[in-house]
């Protein structure tokens, strides 16, 4: 095992007994369980881990958590590759493979860094000011820009892993399992509330995992272990480690993503990779902590410049020193704790550079006790070293912090820790609708007025001190539980020893440049936005904070500006001499940290993307090799090709079988609604355009349904089974629309009508037989069923048995051939189908699909909703004005009377092509001349067009302006090759069979 030169001999929550092997950019390294990829890289002395977005500057690890802007890697390989992954959040596992990004040919020698040298030519927004000439060349420039931009590469191929979703409810959701969150969960749990405690890290505890203080007389670690054991022992408490609450939606609904097996090389078969929790909480406690801010000074992006708290975390939690010799640059006292932690871990502390004058608090005393040199009233103005910090220079900071003076002091170090103060993590709070208010004293945003049932505790409301966080957490948890009705004794808050007294921070948003050194002062490290960029933007007039953000791209990286946004806001405010509070802030948008699309999709992928509805006969169609077409959620057989047969041949064969013998089609998908009650005829009179009162029992009628604009939206045949009992059919795709339409009127307008609607689409299987032999075939199978024209005339319905199955038989059809629609219980569908095929063999029975059905119905001029109608077509347009009653109102009638519906309209006609073999394209536009010189007004379009094997020629239906009066006129139709000449004809090419009239 190779050595880990920066690993401390003791301390931390890693298991030194086990070694894990991993690769970064092809090089093999070792780490330990408990490491993150970042801590393991640091332990191995790897400082340079990535390149920045625009200038390709060398970058190292800045942070130890979600806020990391630099250390983005491509994790894994092949279909499991995952670009843009933060090394600070990747739990190390054996065999992990990671690769740096956005560099070519290698991380150490990146050609892209030329951008850094040319940066004077690439100021913020340079692309808005150039690349405009020659006109039409943008796409060429763009290709180069796109290549340079972007970060990681997308994986190739489909994702092999599985994802899950969980719906959950709780009384109190606690987000964040640091001191405040643990205390809140304990308090709410003790009061009896159902609690969920979620934390983004693998180990619950947050700041407690590295805290040195005593709580209730025990070490923080021991207290945490006990607290977690207490929580685990409560039945109604659920702990969710590795779970990020990423979105706070309306009515206390939150989205959380649990990374179930990202810490493993591959998820075991029984586990999903991610699980999306959709959680409704009665109360929420946000104990989301605070994020440390970087300071903004020249070359503050060099590898080895790190947030102070992160350096402390690496030392105390992971047993890693991030350097051998460190300098702390700070504007606050809390960061001294980090310096002391490093000093105690054996790192040599060269100096503390403190922007504040005259620091005389407990922290300063502790630093002095350890012999650390303190440079008060100073600021770091330069960083030496390019791929690695090699030292820094500090100068005196003027009273207004607007200039630096004196001679620079050179400080030897390979690690520069920095701390510019702390920003409460209020992303979720802001998403919940809560207001944020600027606190000038603490120089941060704090939670203001809440809009939802939410409490904030601990560092998230600016209380950085452990003892205070515990008190606030307990109070918030208890209060949240009480608001859910769980009262009881007020739980006692855990007692922590008071933190050292701290002097207040000195806001320092931008360290002035020294005359001699210059350098770029980065505000957004990932997107390479500097203070100069912000100033240029404001000079140019982009002054609204959103304009600054959008113009400079500050805060638009994958870290969403977690470390940079407040600095951006403050620097812009300073530049504009404006109040930070008055500037507002950019919107905190979900998700808090990026969430995989796969987690959001869950199991709803591939076959489960949309459910498939199956008829009773579906298995037969599949077995027979039918070609299917999706119709709504159904998959209907389009045609049944025989071996070696083309689609056109199959459809022609199926059509001829219906015209000459008998065919059978699975019509189960037709929408079916059972209507019962004395007011049923009244309903039908309203929803259909024609009259229904006098329909005799046992007879059917065809009807059109209109919306209130007067446009046809569905059609179908409805049968009267009894005085107050009807069986309505709808189109396959329109079933739910019709059901909703009926329910809407009944439930909102016809409140006291005595009628009920039941969707029975899936209760009935329907086989429709059509063709001259259909009656003979049915006769062979019918029992207790009189098929004579007297007993079962065209448009009649009877009940009896078919093939021994109870059946409802409708003598109706859609093909113009004599036909019967045989309805049986859905579970009998296959039996009926097989019986029909067996008995039909001698008649040459042929199953046919939707394509043949369309050819057959078009031959006799029957409309198909969705072909001849598109939401803009009236009954009269279709030549069906006779179906509109004149005596009574019906839905859509008044709509038809509007002026534009009485003007010249497109009307349904037939089209016969000059060349009988030319089949017009559906959707082809009809024009009035033999040459298309666009733009040319269209007369209309082809709505249905087929080859009719029976007629031996092509047929087409079309909607054409004033079409009915233009019979015999010649028109031209656009097709793929040009224009096809055709003649306007009646919209019927074949009379229906005698027995189907």
């Amino acid at each position: 095992m190779s050595s880990q030169p920066f690993r401390l001999a003791t301390g931390g929550r890693i298991d030194r007994q086990r070694a894990l092997c991993f690769r970064f950019d092809g090089q093999v390294y070792w780490g330990h369980p408990g490491d993150t990829l970042a801590s393991a890289l640091l332990a191995n002395g790897v400082r340079l881990v990535g390149r920045s977005f625009k200038y390709h500057r060398p970058r190292g690890i800045l942070a130890a958590g979600v806020e990391e802007p630099n250390a983005l890697v491509r994790l894994g390989e092949g279909a499991r590759a995952e670009p843009n992954t933060r090394a600070t959040q990747v739990e190390l596992f054996d065999g992990l493979v990671a690769e740096s990004q956005n560099r070519w040919p290698s991380l150490a020698f990146d050609a892209g860094q030329a951008g850094d040298l040319l940066s004077a030519l690439l100021p913020v927004g340079f692309y808005y000011k150039t690349f405009m000439r020659p006109k039409g060349w943008w796409e060429r420039y763009e290709r180069l820009i796109r290549q340079a931009a972007g970060m990681g590469r997308a994986p190739q191929g489909a994702d092999p892993d599985r994802y899950a979703k969980m719906h959950a409810h709780c009384d109190v959701l606690v987000v964040g399992a640091g001191p405040a969150g643990i205390a809140a969960a304990l308090a709410a749990g003790q009061r009896g509330a159902r609690v969920v405690l979620a934390d983004e890290q693998a180990e619950l505890g947050g700041g407690l995992l590295a805290a040195a203080s005593l709580i209730d007389g025990q070490s923080a670690g021991d207290w945490l272990a006990l607290a977690l054991a207490t929580l685990r022992a409560m039945d109604q408490v659920r702990l969710l480690p590795r779970t990020t609450a990423f979105g706070y939606y309306d009515h206390n609904f939150l989205g959380l993503v649990e990374r179930v097996s990202d810490h493993l090389a591959a998820p075991p078969a029984h586990l999903p990779r991610h699980r999306l929790w959709k959680l409704r909480a009665r109360q929420v406690v946000l104990a989301t902590g605070a994020l440390e801010r970087p300071l903004v000074f020249a070359d503050n992006d060099r590898p080895g410049v790190m947030l102070a708290g992160a350096a402390a975390t690496y030392a105390t939690r992971y047993g890693v020193r991030s350097g051998k010799r460190a300098v702390l640059f700070t504007n606050n006292s809390e960061a001294y704790g980090a310096a002391i932690a490093l000093a105690d871990a054996g790192v040599q502390l060269t100096a503390i550079v403190d922007a504040r004058e005259d620091v005389r608090d407990d922290w300063a005393a502790r630093a002095r006790e350890r012999g650390i040199r303190l440079l008060a009233g100073q600021a770091v103005v330069a960083v030496e070293g390019r791929r690695q910090v090699a030292g820094v220079r500090a100068m005196r900071l003027g009273p207004g912090a607007d200039q630096v003076t004196g001679l620079p002091a050179r400080l030897e170090c390979d690690l520069l820790m920095m701390s510019g103060g702390y920003s409460p993590t209020l992303h979720l709070y802001a998403q919940s609708g809560g207001r944020l208010v600027w606190d000038p004293l603490r120089a941060c945003q704090l939670p203001g007025e809440a809009r939802q049932a939410v409490h904030v505790a601990g560092a998230a409301r600016g209380s950085l001190e452990l003892a205070q966080a515990l008190v606030e957490g307990t109070a918030a948890g208890a209060q949240a539980a009480a608001e859910c009705g769980f009262a009881g004794a007020l739980p006692e808050a855990p007692q922590a020893e008071p933190a050292p007294a701290a002097a207040s921070l000195r806001p320092l948003w931008l360290v002035p440049l020294s005359q001699s050194s210059g350098g770029k002062r980065f505000v957004d490290l990932q997107n390479d936005v500097t203070a100069a960029d912000l100033m240029l933007a404001t000079r140019e007039g982009y002054r609204a904070i959103e304009h600054v953000k959008r113009y400079t791209t500050a805060g638009l990286g994958t870290d969403q500006g977690k470390t940079g946004n407040i600095n951006t806001l403050a620097i812009v405010a300073q530049k504009l001499s404006a109040d930070i509070a008055g500037l507002g802030h950019t919107t905190y948008r979900p998700p808090y940290t990026p969430v995989s699309f796969a987690a959001l999709a869950g199991q709803d992928r591939a076959p489960l993307h949309e459910p498939v509805r199956r008829t009773g006969m579906q298995g037969w169609h599949e077995e027979r090799g039918a070609e299917f077409e999706p119709v709504g959620q159904w998959r209907r057989p389009h045609h049944y090709p025989r071996p070696g047969e083309s689609m056109h041949e199959a459809v022609a064969r199926e059509c001829l079988a219906v015209r000459q013998a008998v065919g059978v089609v699975d019509a189960s998908t037709l929408g079916k609604i059972d209507i019962q009650g004395p007011d049923s005829p009244k309903v039908l009179n309203w929803v259909y355009t024609n009259a229904w009162d006098r329909l005799p029992i046992g007879r059917c009628r065809y009807g059109l349904m209109l919306n209130e604009e007067g446009m046809v939206f569905d059609d179908g045949v409805t049968a009267r089974l009894d005085q107050h009992h009807f069986h309505m059919t709808t189109t396959s795709g329109g079933a739910s629309t019709v059901m909703n339409w009926l329910e809407e009127w009944l439930q909102t307008e016809w409140l006291n009508w005595r009628v009920r609607f039941t969707s029975v689409t899936e209760q009935w299987a329907v086989a429709a037989i059509a063709g001259p032999s259909s009656r003979a075939l049915l006769k062979d199978l019918a029992e207790n069923l009189d098929l004579s024209d007297e007993a079962l005339p065209f448009m009649g319905v009877s009940e009896g048995r078919v093939a021994g199955l109870p059946a409802r038989v409708f003598r109706i059809g859609y093909t113009g051939a004599q036909s019967y629609e045989i309805n049986v219980a859905a579970s009998h569908g296959m039996a009926l189908w097989l019986a029909l095929l067996a008995a039909g063999e001698k008649y040459g029975i042929t199953p046919f699909g939707t394509e043949a059905m369309h050819v057959l119905r078009a031959e006799v001029g029957f409309i198909a909703v969705g072909h001849e109608t598109d939401g803009t077509v009236t009954p009269d347009d279709l030549g069906l004005a006779r179906l509109c009653k004149t005596s009574q109102d019906f839905l859509g009638r008044r709509g038809l009377a509007r002026p534009a519906l009485r003007a010249e309209r497109k009307q349904l006609v037939g089209l016969l092509t000059d060349h009988p073999k030319t089949v017009l394209p559906m959707g082809g536009q009809v024009i009035d001349r033999a040459e298309l010189r666009p733009p040319h007004p269209s007369l209309g379009h082809v709505t249905s067009s087929y080859w009719s094997a029976h007629l031996g020629r092509s047929i087409a239906l079309a909607l054409i302006k004033g079409g009915r009066a233009r019979q015999g006129e010649r028109v031209w139709v656009t097709n793929d090759g040009g224009l096809a000449p055709a003649t306007i004809a009646p919209a019927r090419f074949l009379a229906p069979a005698e027995a189907a009239r």
């Binding site: 009515h251 609904f253 409704r280 809009r451 909703n740 809407e744 909102t748 409140l751 008044r894």
Partner: protein
């Protein structure tokens, strides 16, 4: 993700429902006598307020019943839920 209290089923999440637009839009009767403008108003014109809105919801993936909701379009807060035919709750200003 709203939480709606279906008057027939109790509290359910938004995914089970569909909003069906503004409530209390009466069909002009007799329709034949309504002017084109009146009919257009019935078909198309909506109050679309920024604030409290009377609207219809359907528990599509539940009991399928329709009901009325008074809800703020600004905060999404639900002020009242009532059944069709029940009187419209008055706005408190």
């Amino acid at each position: 993700m709203l939480l709606l209290h279906c008057p027939y089923c109790g509290p359910r999440w938004e995914q089970e429902f569909q909003c069906r637009g503004e409530a209390h839009i009466a069909r002009p009767e007799p329709a034949a006598e309504a002017s084109d403008a009146t009919w257009a108003a019935y078909l198309y014109l909506r109050s679309n307020p920024k604030g409290l809105h009377y609207e219809r919801w359907q528990h599509t993936h539940g009991c399928r019943r329709w009901f009325n909701v008074l809800r703020s379009t600004l905060t999404h807060e639900i002020v009242a839920i009532y059944r069709p035919g029940e009187p419209k709750p008055e706005l408190k200003r």
